[in-house]
């Protein structure tokens, strides 16, 4: 993916072959921007985005609109719909094209998805009053229910306290590989990468400075940031 947003230039080739790819980098390196360009929420010039055999955006300017990208997005603040119950949050995507399921069927599937994420008991609750970890699961269930071709997670653990973070990290590590195809995970914590991701891409000022497995990065960190991120000096 090559994309320019305003005067910010992203030059990123993610090339995830399924599995979870971690996107790391200092603040302002373009991680969230990259996710939003992938999701189609940001207009980017010269963006070339392919997911599997599907071209979501071509350098020639063809762009698949957000609603037809089949991309699941879990933003940093989770972005839950405050006016809907947990069940209706999760079922939201099934009410829209191409699914257009009847209410009972939507709810049944949403309930199954919540149970797959071990939080079926949340279904009838309003989103207000959910803990950070609970919100995260609901947002994940909502993103996964439409079976997206690509899942985007923006700092899914950043807003959680240390204890919850550990348990959610374990939980994501267990469930993400079975629940979804390719996934891009933005994080600033090397422990997330160790637990969840198979590969790492390091972004600095909109450019990829290094990519590979954690071991490959540790063997030869390409920049001060990479060394610091990995804790090797």
């Amino acid at each position: 993916m090559r994309a320019s947003v305003g005067d910010f230039v992203l030059d990123v080739s993610l090339g995830a072959e399924g599995g979870v790819l971690a996107l790391v980098g200092p603040n302002g390196s373009g991680k969230t921007t990259a996710l939003r360009v992938l999701a189609g929420a940001l207009e980017a010039e010269h963006a070339q985005i392919e997911v599997g055999a599907r071209v979501l955006a071509s350098a020639a300017g063809d762009r698949v609109p957000m609603e037809r990208r089949r991309v699941g997005y879990v933003p940093q603040g989770y972005g839950l719909f405050g006016h809907l119950s947990v069940l209706d949050n999760v079922a939201f995507g099934l009410s829209l094209r191409p699914h257009r399921l009847a209410r009972a069927e939507r709810h049944a599937r949403a309930q199954r998805m919540l149970e797959a994420l071990h939080c079926g008991e949340l279904a009838r609750r309003p989103t207000r009053g959910l803990s950070g970890g609970e919100q995260q699961r609901v947002a994940l269930a909502r993103a996964l229910i439409t079976e997206p071709d690509l899942l985007l997670l923006d700092e899914p653990l950043a807003a959680l306290d240390a204890t919850t973070r550990r348990s959610v990290r374990r939980y994501l590590a267990e469930h993400l590989p079975q629940l979804c195809g390719p996934c891009v995970l933005v994080t600033h914590d090397v422990r997330d990468v160790e637990a969840i991701a198979e590969g790492v891409v390091v972004l600095e000022r909109g450019r990829v400075v290094q990519r590979g497995s954690l071991d490959e990065l540790r063997a030869a960190p390409a920049s001060d940031f990479v060394a610091e991120f990995l804790g090797v000096h």
Partner: protein, 259 residues
């Protein structure tokens, strides 16, 4: 120290609440049941009340239809144009209603900016029910637009992005996510605009006149009654307090239920 401060603050608050309630209490105490019966049977009453309800319903409906997209745009745009528009929309709030009335006359009056063109089409605006609606629209809609913009500012952009990635079109995301999240604030805007439209006096008097049965709304009927029969003015005022109070309580309740 904090206790003394709190007591002082409480006292100041009570003083203001008292001041706000005194006119209402005085109104309620100065009308007998006989006055009430006579006032409600007065020929000007039903006409003025119906005209007030009909015109405010119209002007508030137009305000919601035109003001909702404008509020959304003001909330989501960061351009300098939106700053200018925002100020322009707020202007009628600070401009005296009489000035709005003169302005409307200069725009739509027989000698006004658009008067001759409209007259050639056979359309006369001043001193008609349409003029009543226009006057209310100008003075009341800014309250709604302001409330709508601040309600839409509370809608996190991320929720809309998520709705889009789940399959919602831009309009679908607005209708199914932004509108319901902003609904309580929009209803507050509706009640503010409605109250302002219902009480509109100055601009209406200048631009629409005070013709019983045609352009005489409740506030103008009160003004006319005051010249001949104070008790009649008191009864009309009490009815207006009741209607305004009902609208306020009803919309508040709706707004709470939505939030």
């Amino acid at each position: 120290m904090t206790r003394a401060l709190r007591a002082m603050g409480g006292l100041l608050g009570v003083a203001l609440v008292g001041l706000l309630l005194i006119p209402l209490v005085a109104l309620a105490l100065s009308a007998s049941w006989a006055d009430l019966r006579a006032g409600l049977a007065h020929p000007a009453f039903a006409d003025a009340l119906l005209l007030s309800l009909r015109t405010t319903l119209t002007s508030v409906s137009i305000t919601v239809v035109l003001g909702t997209p404008l509020g959304w745009w003001l909330a989501s745009s960061h351009s300098s144009l939106s700053q200018v528009v925002s100020v322009a929309v707020e202007l009628p709030i600070v401009v005296p209603p009489a000035v709005v009335g003169v302005g409307l006359l200069q725009a739509f009056g027989a000698q006004g900016l658009f008067g001759p063109a409209l007259a050639s089409l056979g359309v006369v605006v001043p001193f008609t029910e349409l003029a009543v609606v226009l006057a209310q629209l100008v003075v009341a809609s800014p309250f709604f637009v302001q409330a709508a913009a601040s309600a839409f500012r509370k809608v996190e952009p991320d929720t809309l992005i998520v709705a889009r990635t789940l399959g919602a079109s831009p309009v679908g995301a607005f209708v199914r996510v932004a509108l319901p999240i902003a609904a309580p604030g929009l209803l507050v805007g509706v009640s503010l605009a409605w109250a302002r439209a219902l009480g509109e006096f100055g601009a209406t008097l200048l631009f629409a006149g005070n013709m019983p049965g045609r352009t005489q709304t409740m506030p103008l009927a009160i003004f006319s009654a005051l010249e001949s029969d104070v008790q009649l003015a008191v009864v009309f005022s009490l009815v207006l307090v009741a209607v305004g109070g009902l609208i306020l309580v009803g919309l508040r309740w709706l707004s709470r239920a939505r939030a």
